[in-house]
Every structure is written in C-alpha cells, then in structure tokens.
Symmetry: D2
Subunit: 245 residues, 4 copies
C-alpha cells in the first residue's frame, strides 16, 4: 500500500465568491485525495497550510511514500523549517509530485536549483498535452495526447534543469508550448512536475488528468525502503582496502 | 577577455603551523589566480571570506564572467544573502566552478538541490582522473588520464543530480571511485564541479590540474551577454496570437 | 576557419514544375551554402547524391569540420558505405547538422539508434519555434521564439533518444507540438537536429532560420582536432600500474 | 510473469580444454537462465547462435519481455536480419540487457549509435562495482559496492552516449575505472549494460552479480504491453484541430 499525502495551501477555495469554492467546495486536496482513494494500492490523506506544522510533522512525513503539492497565493507563508524537512524526506526517498502553480513553491525551487519561472495567461484556452513517453509508467493507458477544453496557459521558457525524462509537452490555442510533465531524481527521491490544474477551471475533475496523477503516485513511490542514512556526509574516513604505496 | 574571480575562504592557510601555509603561503586563491593570469584571454582576481560582503558585492559580481569557489571549514560562515546573490548571477549566466571541498558549500548545494555528500579519507593516496570526454573543451590537451601522486580520497556515492556530462572519474589507490568532473546547466549559467585540490597537498601546483581549471574557465564563460531579465517570472500575462474559440 | 559541407539529395528541385524549383532554383544546398559563406569564420561547400560517392569521399570528409544533411525522397539511394564513412567521421569529431526530413536519413537513424519516426501534415500552417535554451550558442541573437508564416507540420511523438539539450519546441497552428531543435553527442562528435525547412516553402530564405543554422555550424565544429585513434577498440591490453595481489 | 530469454553465442564453452567449459559446462546462458528461473515472477529460456535464426524467430521475440545478450568471439556471425528484428522489438518495448563483451555486439552498437569501444586487460584483478544509484530498482538489496575477487578488466574511455542513469562504476586493482552499469531508453524499450562476466572467471556464480541481473530483468520488462504501431512513421497526414488562417 502506497501512503500518499495531498498537500494544498487551501486558500482560494475559502475565499467568498471565488470560483474555486464552486469547483472545489472541499478544496483541491479533497478532490485529488478522494480520487486516489479509489485507486488500488493507494491510501491518500490530506494536509493544508493552516494546520499545525502545515500538517507535515516529522512523524507524518516518515510514513509518507509520496507527497503531492499544490500552492499558489501563499508560497511565502510556508515555513522554511517545514520546507527543509520535506526536502530531507525527498532526498531520503519519498516521492514528490508538484502540481501546476506549485512550480513556484519553495520546495520545488529548492530541489531544482533554478528560478522555475515561466510565462502565463488565464484566458480559458484549449490545451493539448502531447504524450512524448508512451513507454513510461506515468502515461500508462493514455493515447497520443490529453485535451483540456479550457485551462490557464503556461509558456516557455520554463526555467528548470533539463528533465531526466520529458513526458508531456503542452500546446495552447493562443500560440504557446510548455514542458508540462517532467521527471527528475533528487537524492533517493523521484520528482514529477505536472502542469494541469488551476483553481479557476475544473481540471481535477477530468478523468485523464487524474489518471496521470494516479500513475505518477505509483511511479514515485520508493522502490526500496527509504534510507536516510545514505544522505548524510560521513563523519569518519573510509577504510582503504589496499595499503598505500 | 574573461573576467574570473577566485573565491577562497582562506582560513587553513592562515593557521599557524598548518601545512597549507607552507604549500600555499598566499592562499589557494592566489595560486590559482596567478596561474589564470598567465592564460590568454583570462583576467583573474580574488575574493575571500573575511572581506566585506566576502568580496562579492553586487557591483563586482555584475562584471564577473566566471566565479571559482574553494571552501572547507567555514561553509557556515558564508552569509545567506551573498549565497542568494551569487545564485542569481549564476542563473543569469555567470559560470561557476566549484573546487574540491566546495562540494559542501551553500552555493553548490543550493544549485544542485541535493545533499552533495560523499565519503572521504585523507591518507595521501595516488589518484587517477580518467578522461571520459576527450571531445569536451574542458579536457583539451589532456591524454587518457591525469595522475596525482598523493591526494585526499573522495568516494561515491556522491549525492548529486545526474551530471549533464560526466568528464572525469577518479580511481584511488585504496579502492574507491568518484565522479571528479561534472557539468550542469542552471538557468543561463554553466556549473562545473572539479574534485582535485586539498589544503594539505600541492595539487594546485600540478600543471595538468591547472590546465583543466583554465579550460573550464573558458568553457563556463557566458556565450552571450548574461541577461537577468529572462530569469524573472512574468508579472503580466502574455498576449495570445490567436483568438480564443 | 570552419569547413562546412552542405549535403542535399537534390531531387525535388530538378523535377519539372515542382514548386521547389521555383523556391530553390539552384537547390537547397546552394541557398544554405551561400548564406554560410557570408558568415565570418565559415567556409561552405556543397555535395549532392548524384555526384560520385555522393560527393563525400574519404579525402573530403577528412577535412570537413561540420556536415549539414538534407534528404527526403531518396534516403534509400544513399549507399551504406558512404553512411558508414560519415558515421565514423562523426564519431571521430566531425559535427553533423540534420535538417527537416533528414530525420529519416540512414545517417541520423544510425546515430540515434531509434526509428526517428514522427507525424506530419503539409498544409502551410503557422509555426512558432520556442527558444528553451537562451543560454545556448545555437540560440545566440534570438528572442523568445521564431515564427515561420507557413510550414509543413511535424508532430510528436518524435521517436528519438532523450536529447542532451532541448533547444526548440515548435507550436503549430493545427494543434501539434514538436521537439524542433535537439543536441546529442556521439563519440567525439556533436549532432544537432533542426526541424525547419521543406522543399515546398521558402523557409531557408528566412533570416532567423539561417541564423540558427550558422550558430549551429559554429557550435558543432570540433573544439579539438578530431582524433580517430580514440574511436577504435584496443588491440592490446593496457598495462597495469599496480601489481596484482 | 516476465518472459526472459538468455542469448549466448555459446562457443568458448564448447572449445576443448577451454577454461569456460569447466566454469560453465552447460554454457553461460544455462547458468543465468537457471538462476532466473528461481526468481519469483520470472520465466527464463535460452537461445544460442547456432540454432536456426539464432533461436530468435519473430514468433519467439513477440512473446519475449526481456532479452539478455552475451557474445564475444562471434559477433560477426550474427545475421543482420536477426539484429534488425531484435532492434525493432526493443524499439517496440522489449527490454534488453547486454552483458560484458556484448558491448561490441551488433545489436548494442546499433542501439547506441557509437563504437562502444573500451580498454581491457585479462589478468584476474580485483574489481569493485560502486553503487551510484541506491534509489534504483536495479540495485535493490545491494550495499555500497559489489566486490569481485578476480575479473577481466575493462577501462574507460567507454565510447557510449551519456547514460540516462549511471548505476555502477567499477574500480580495478590495476588502476582503471569503468562505467559498469548504465541505462538508456530506445524507442519504447529499456536497455541496461552490465559489465561483469567473462568466460574465464566464475562471475556468474557470484550471488550479488546474479541479483543485479534479476533486478534488471524486472526493471527492463515493459510496463505496458509493447505496441509496435507507435514505432512506424505515419503514412498519412494528421488531421488538424484548427482551420488554417
């Protein structure tokens, strides 16, 4: 059983009259977790910014296999201490799935080492995510592309390190492209960035999008028991096997 | 003309009776800068930890093409503000060459996103750096390997993201290997990690080692004028070229 | 001085009443070579399928730094012997720039190891090549994208190994995307695939496209004297530096 | 159930008085297949050079999930037709594990696009394979390194494209290093090169080595049903979703 935690800053959805409150009345995290709990082999819970320690205590992270991250308007409110804690867990083997505007979260930027900046326009355009990796577990069950009828647009240049595998590239009606699905390894942990999803469009109610997220949870789960001991610098020298000449 | 700055924490060399003071009486930075100033097309200066702003003011970084970094015992004393400033310059296009124990510097770790930990043993062993990339400008003029008669040993697993190009792998007498030359791109900037060099061995007096450093300075210099404007997130949406359907 | 050879199968342009004959009366190769001869530091010549040895004798390849390749309707007529010869030269250090329908040439497929297949539609659509690598020498002088008013469309999934650097991604009016600029290293040689150009559209008369090709020629030129000796398997064992225990 | 086929040229073992006949009396393939048949979820069979079609008919390959390849003295006797057939299956999704001297096989070279040359010395030296990827399924169950008491030495420069993941680097007693475990994707197929194993040393009787091979078989098995249709170039244009302006 893979233990997933869906983290959401959960602010837009609580704003009176915000469209997000209509699309995701219980929050984006609830919608995603509910879907994942219907997937064989996955147990999903949630955590949000306004909980103590943002819902991400040491004890909880220690038993989390995959963390999903959605944030947008409150990246600056996430405490540096919790970010460092999540980062250590990723380097120790926990999978991390960063969604949409999470590209600008502290945790994603600290793992990438770059600005993670991009261009954008929220005009409800058609998006097509082209499947560049039909061999990859993340695209299992998909055809040549996913089409999202109306979405916020994200545009290159997306300032990220070259992905290890480029899974999706988006086409937007208005003339832009974007690397919408990218994987990296950091320490012992797998990282997947997935673009779709905005608080103002019902993207997480679309079946193909949720199917990719479920595939990614399975892919990002550690294949071995995460071992933090491998992440520390040695305090004592290694013994040589051969005498010095 | 490439403007290079060699940064050194410059502490070991000032310790009374430390072997470093004998090998590098004016500091490691002085030895490296002096060599680089003998290379056509390179102008090298130095900066050290105990100077105001560690010698790395905004104004100075703005005219630096390539920064070299050596640190060991005082990583924690480097101010977060200066680290952030250097990081921004790298993402804007400045080259960065990280030497030896600089693997554990704040700037390198923040650009890699990983722990950058490794194994080590300082027993004066023979090291051979095998040249895996004879096509690469960094290895110009080298043969199949560089041999260093006595060196500190560094061992895998080196916790770094997969290098874009793996240039050197070291063999050590005592039984270990290490990825000793690695390149990455971060934002618009080139990053090169180069293992050789320890304050207790005269490695920066060895010609082949210095030749690699000079090659790396030329390679890491921005091929275009560094343009910071590309690194910021857009504040306003992009105009579409096609009407929304 | 970089010695470039522009190779073209040169068949469409000789077909009576073919639109290619009007756009490129002397052949695509002549148009490209003429442009390159106006670039500082580049000397360009041409070679075509119907010349003896396709214009690519051993002697000529030996003094070629960068080969550009355009083919479409006659890939099968290129002799396996000449392909093997070109491949050996690339692995020894010669740069190779593969243009447009050259994706399906024997030489490109043999260096990639994959099918190099893709989707296509020739309907004169608008194309935008987004610049994903503003730091890279190949994009020097470009802005955020190049726009081509009318072009043949190429679509993902493009069956290639993950590029070492992804330089351009194209957006097409009709709903597709394509990895239009990709780099790889093979042996000691640099390889660049560049999508634009079709015999039925005047793409090689567009300044930005030609500027990229000129940049690529400079980038792909060997940084060292190409050394074929490094490409052969050793016939005799290496001498050990340490006695066997 | 993963269907694996272990292919071996099976020549050394049949030579009278050859040491291989003593170490692997039924052939290297039999030793490996026997081990794999003791692994949960794996069904292993064998194929050899001197069988009709080298034991690799279309029908057999169609139901093979992972092919393992060992060859040395008879690479040139493998028919080009069978190589092309295997290559098509790999691009369609079949995993391929290339062992030791298989680095110089036609199939490996055709998938890599390079010479795949290296240095060597057969002097029965100690080898240590350092584990650079403790997160990777291929290293599951291993510690920091595998030690092989006596082995043939392989040395860099190994002329391969930069691996997608570098899993092992070998240290040899005599002073050399080698990238001993490397992964690539080609089309829809996973490729793993694994250095250990020579006909003159009992390396395939060593538990850790066999454990890596078993892990690799599981890793290389297609995660989806291999779909050859994705590998062919389209014969008809794609229909646009938007009218041409």
């Amino acid at each position: 059983m893979i233990n997933a935690v869906v983290w959401n800053e959960f602010r837009h959805e609580k704003q009176k009259d915000h469209v997000a409150a209509k699309i995701y009345p219980d929050g984006i995290h609830a919608t995603i977790a509910s879907y994942l709990n219907g997937v064989d082999g996955v147990n999903a819970e949630t955590a949000t910014l306004d909980e103590p320690e943002h819902g991400l205590s040491e004890a909880r992270l220690a038993k989390t296999d995959v963390l999903l991250w959605w944030g947008h308007m409150a990246h600056g409110e996430v405490s540096d201490e919790v970010v460092a804690r999540v980062r250590t867990r990723v380097l120790s083997g926990m999978g991390l799935i960063v969604l949409h505007s999470g590209h600008f979260s502290k945790i994603f930027r600290s793992l990438m080492g770059t600005n993670c900046s991009l261009g954008w326009r929220n005009d409800g355009e058609k998006e097509r995510l082209w499947n560049l990796a039909p061999d990859h577990p993340i695209t299992a069950g998909l055809g040549e592309y996913i089409e999202i009828p109306r979405a916020e647009m994200y545009s290159e240049r997306f300032d990220i390190p070259e992905p290890e595998r480029l899974i999706f590239v988006s086409w937007f009606e208005g003339g832009e492209v974007f690397r919408s699905g990218c994987t990296w390894t950091r320490g012992n942990g797998k990282v997947f960035y997935f673009r779709p999803g905005d608080e103002s469009w019902p993207v997480y109610h679309q079946k193909e999008v949720m199917s990719v997220i479920a595939n990614a949870v399975k892919w990002a789960a550690p294949s071995i028991t995460a071992d933090t001991s491998r992440c520390e610098n040695r305090k004592t020298p290694i013994e040589a096997i051969a005498p010095k000449t």
